[in-house]
Point group: C2
Chain length 326, copies 2
């Protein structure tokens, strides 16, 4: 574990423990199959980034109530619901080194338990009794679902532009992280400009986070990542390292890339050659730079807050988005 | 078309036209694939029972605003979202005589467009700005999702009891119809006892409606029904006609029923023999009687309202639940 991650973990240990409790408590009254299949995805080593960001955002706004942990699970449930359906849509086999839910159980279970988690998160949202929070959550859900559909429609399309990629990662990843931070401000009854600053932080962090995630598919070892080598490409997902490289490549390199990408079931040596080309064409470094730019914007949004331990942690989380290895 | 249906249709023609418009308008700003796949399920001859019940319930409570039609689509979208996911979960091929969405497109599309419709209905719910309405909608969604999971868990189980069947149809069908009626009362700012009466009407109507639907699987012609003969049984769904007959059957008949049911891919003559046994053992007539009892309860709940044209239509709808052929 890196020093940065150690430092963050040290500071948020108590919060994470409370979030774990809330995640389990909310599943308790439900059917065995729900609890088991939901637990499979929920308790498989996720980072709890989204609920944690809500809790920290509320604290940064001076929130001193007791409801933050209970409400924060909304953002982990929404995330888990999306993962359950995504893995099915993508035909994925592994997530975090474990078989995906639709392989452990079956497609019907993954569909229905995903639906349940989605419904549960909207119920918890309704329990806040705050219209603004409810609107944020329902808008997130709608936007994420559109993002997934957009991604599905463009699957395997080598013509996907950088702007379209940005729109996809905004809707499938950034709005959820943005919404978690914004909701933290809302439950703390923060003034609009404070809410906007945290929303801004969350959006930029979310964009950086997804870019870093997309990079890991080309720069990380399979065992560390817990999924197949080249999984994104095999699922027909073009991400920024590839999009930028296709744009910058000389005709011969572009042809080579196209051959490997279109094959889908490429060999390990083909994949290694592709990563080499991504390096040569600047796709890797360009994505790193873009992610770093979003991290800077995220951190800048926090500078409107006076220095505090909580602000430090949120700044560290932004840095961590770039440096994480899984 | 029966006289009863003709009479209802005559009275609600204008409402239905408004509901159709609202259903289309709400899909307009969205992606092509969403519009097409959602339209496939939404505009395939559904009866619009749920939005219509919301509109009529609001009118019965004296509602005179303009928002009822726009909000009523929530209940059709929720219904359509469930159908999209159910057909996939059940491995169904036909609905209302047409290929199901996951066969026209594919599983990923059915999953994601179902998610979108679910998300969209919760957004429309949030747009009402009424916390009580939002809570009703999110609770419905959660209960329905649990009902579907419960049904999945008991698939093919010949030990399913009448009480368990009642719980399944309550959660997968009755709560949605109940919620539509209750929401009509809520947007009309009706007093609690009026809200409770309409909720009561909706619940009992919903129970009767599902029992009648389950009967049709054994009493209707395939061409009229628009789906396969014996589809419920082939999907492993035990419904009241079968549950009651299994309970009442003599050992020899019970053994014959079990053989046919467990075969799943039974022949037409096997199925006809099964229907004969359901008749002999009283499963058909028992279900008819139970459905009729719920219809009576539904109608009784309306008698707290003074006579009016709207009350007449709602009483007719209750009668229609029993007599419909599709």
């Amino acid at each position: 574990m890196s020093d940065l991650k150690n430092r963050i973990m040290e500071e948020v240990r108590a919060d994470l423990a409370d979030i774990e409790c809330a995640l389990r408590e909310n599943l308790n009254p439900h059917l065995d199959l729900v609890r088991e299949a939901a637990s499979h995805i929920l308790f498989s080593g996720g980072k709890r980034l989204r609920p944690l960001l809500m809790v920290l955002s509320a604290r940064l706004c001076g929130y001193a109530g007791d409801d933050d942990k209970a409400f924060s699970v909304v953002f982990e449930y929404l995330h888990a619901a999306t993962l359950l359906h995504d893995d099915l849509v993508d035909g994925a086999r592994l997530r975090r080194g474990r078989l995906v839910a639709h392989a452990v159980w079956d497609n019907p279970t993954a569909v229905l338990v995903g639906d349940f988690l989605l419904a549960r998160s909207l119920s918890i949202g309704a329990e806040t009794g705050r219209l603004k929070v409810i609107r944020v959550i329902s808008e997130i859900t709608e936007t994420m679902s559109e993002g997934e559909i957009r991604q599905l429609m463009r699957k395997g399309d080598l013509g996907l532009s950088e702007a379209e990629y940005m729109e996809i990662i905004r809707s499938k990843t950034a709005v959820l992280i943005q919404g978690a931070c914004q909701t933290g401000a809302l439950i703390a009854d923060a003034p609009p400009e404070t809410e906007a600053a945290l929303s801004d932080y969350g959006f930029n962090l979310g964009m950086a986070f997804q870019m870093a995630d997309d990079l890991l598919d080309y720069t990380s070892e399979s065992e560390v990542l817990g999924k197949e080598i080249g999984a994104d490409l095999k699922e027909g997902k073009l991400t920024l390292p590839v999009i930028h490289s296709l744009e910058m490549a000389a005709p011969r390199e572009r042809a080579e890339m196209e051959r490997i990408i279109n094959a889908r079931e490429f060999s390990l040596s083909d994949f290694q050659r592709l990563v080499e080309i991504l390096d040569i064409c600047g796709g890797i470094s360009y994505t790193e730079q873009m992610a770093a730019r979003y991290v800077e914007k995220a951190k800048k949004a926090l500078l409107t807050f006076p220095p505090s331990k909580t602000r430090e942690i949120l700044l560290d989380v932004a840095d961590y988005a770039l440096r994480r290895k899984t």
